[in-house]
Symmetry: C2
Subunit: 388 residues, 2 copies
């Protein structure tokens, strides 16, 4: 198949593009290189190769273009008529989105205007294209109901009269609704807004859209990125773009302590980067689903972990202490998280469970040690605050 990977130069986009290429697809990356050179740039701990070098090693083409520019997207969709567009081209850090007024506005501008330009280019230039979008588990917030968080939709009784003792609701109207969103940052809010646009574009033009609500990604290399040094993936360890488990591993190598914001009682959904690419491939391979004027939604998650438990596990393995700091976020101090997910079944792969694959923690730490000259201790802590 012909596949465009928007944001294919980034942490999730690059291994996904490689994996789809190695699976035999015709893959082209579209990226504005914002994370290398632009407003949201931060330095990767690993020395990632240039787009030209990546192209040389992988035979994946790069189009340096900005998805928020409507004419560029129209032209690209017209020229390529892709079977699939995988859309990673969004500002993807929750803390960075809360850093300043400027980063908030940039996140909304980039994510909302990028998604609408992509959607509308597909509508007018290539309406049979399957759009696969990377969303976030953060659209749901934490569990507000007793049941596991479903994959996007939930049967609900709107209205009626409810008896809290018997938990019986009389009357009302039974509807299958989008699970009530409760985003926790400007970043997460833009993903809810993206999804609202998918709802309208599917309802009105019956486009083929899959929205993947992804958990927190950990790990850095995949089978494909390990094949050559110039294929290495980026690795973010700074307070805004480094994901929590990866940051713990960097802190463990560099002498710690492990920074936990708040009590650590927060439970979060996780996925290893190798399973990210498995999941996106599963979404691509299952793209021939029946259209019903709604986006298809999957939770791209393999397991959930409590932050404190993760920190203590790494502390026990490495002897590095845990440092509990005031939580800059506005969130529940402690929460459970139960999530439905069917993507491993759809893709017929065995998910990588952290506790069964502790060797992958060592692998990440080996990558950190190999690139320790690039380490800057000043950038590890987050500067963002939800309370300002």
């Amino acid at each position: 198949m012909k596949i465009l990977v928007l944001g294919g130069d980034g942490f999730c986009g690059w291994p996904t593009a490689l994996h789809l290429k190695n699976a035999g697809h015709d893959v082209t990356i579209v990226d504005n290189l914002d994370r290398r050179e632009g407003k949201s740039q931060t330095k990767s701990l690993t020395n990632i190769a240039s787009p030209a070098a990546r192209t040389r090693q992988s035979a994946i083409g790069y189009l340096i273009a900005d998805v928020t520019r409507k004419y560029e997207m129209n032209h690209i969709l017209d020229e390529h008529s892709p079977d699939v567009v995988v859309h990673f081209a969004e500002q993807r850090s929750a803390p960075w989105s809360m850093l300043s007024s400027s980063s908030m506005l940039h996140t909304v501008q980039n994510n909302v205007m990028g998604t609408i330009a992509v959607l509308d280019a597909i509508r007018i230039k290539s309406p049979n294209t399957h759009l696969i979008h990377l969303g976030t588990m953060g659209v749901y917030g934490y569990n507000t109901t007793d049941d596991p968080i479903p994959e996007g939709y939930v049967e609900s009784t709107i209205g009626g009269t409810h008896d809290p003792d018997t938990k019986i609701t009389k009357g009302g109207t039974r509807l299958n609704i989008v699970y009530p969103p409760d985003p926790g940052s400007i970043y997460h809010m833009t993903k809810v807004m993206d999804h609202q646009m998918f709802q309208f574009y599917t309802k009105n033009w019956n486009l083929r859209i899959t929205d993947l609500h992804q958990g927190i990604v950990w790990g850095t290399q995949t089978e494909d990125t390990k094949e050559h040094p110039e294929l290495i993936n980026r690795f973010d360890y700074d307070g805004e773009f480094g994901t929590v488990l990866n940051r713990f591993l960097v802190q463990a190598v560099t002498g710690g302590p492990l920074t936990v914001y708040g009590t650590g009682g927060q439970t979060r959904a996780f996925i290893h980067i190798q399973d990210t690419v498995h999941c996106v491939k599963a979404a691509v391979d299952s793209g021939d689903f029946e259209l019903n004027r709604r986006p298809r939604i999957f939770n791209q998650v393999t397991e959930t972990h409590n932050i404190k438990t993760l920190a203590e596990m790494i502390s026990n393995r490495t002897g590095v202490k845990v440092d509990y700091q005031d939580n800059p976020r506005r969130e529940k101090a402690e929460n459970d998280l139960n999530v439905s997910t069917t993507l491993a079944e759809v893709g017929n792969f065995t998910p990588i469970r952290l506790m069964d694959n502790l060797g992958l923690l060592s692998e990440v730490q080996d990558v950190v040690r190999a690139n320790i000259d690039n380490f800057d201790p000043m950038v590890v802590k987050s500067n963002a605050s939800w309370h300002k």
Copy 2:
């Protein structure tokens, strides 16, 4: 109070600014004049006075500025520290938002980026300001439940097991949720996205926000705009910006026929322009509500009417025929509409009911006759299609 009216040069904004001024407030208009000179310009049937002339007659100041420009909004909020910001500064036509790829993107850019810039300027420069936003009844779609559409929120049982015969739901979790949105155009979609931003800004920063979900406005003059010829309100009769009842009245004066799209079985929510200003004033006057980390929501509606009934009523009064055309919209051919609304009670005014105030129809027709030299028959029909 010190009040900024964003979009205060427009059809609803101008009479609102005048009404608030005449109620003794210190009112300043902020407008980019897009409807006069910009991308969404159309000609008013009435000869509206220039901003300078309006200022001369009303002593209301104009700031020519664009709400989507963050620095302009920051500066204005910093300089004025208003008690209230009334936000009308959005592309407000559903058909225009569906006219072309360019109009779709402009609607999203203007409405979403304008609202976030306004919100964020309030957050950082004037966090005690009460933001009153003009939304639309179209965020709800039509009634999908048996109960009247509530004012924004509805008690619902998420999950559980439901017996359709007895209408009894066992189990699940009772939550007060935002009424599930079902927007019918790009324009309506942006209002849902606006509301998502209000939800996040109230949750995280506890701002004071009122969202008014307005019905279709009819009429043209208010008590305030009638006071002097240079205070006259704009009157839109074209297929995109003219609202349905006003267009019928223009068609009746100009020999018809009255254009009905589809069967006319659509029921819609209506409000007279005089009650629009009453409602916004009610929202201003009741601004000292208890903050609860959610936007306050009202349905700014006074009555509902079936389009066919309206057309036939005007046809019977004037002898002009009704012309049923293919519906360019994707919507239910026939629907009921039951709506909860409390704003007349909050504002302690008697709503203007169409059937009790048929003289107001004649008043609109007098305005049309007085400005008939400006009439262009080529612009009356809509060019937008939901099916392209």
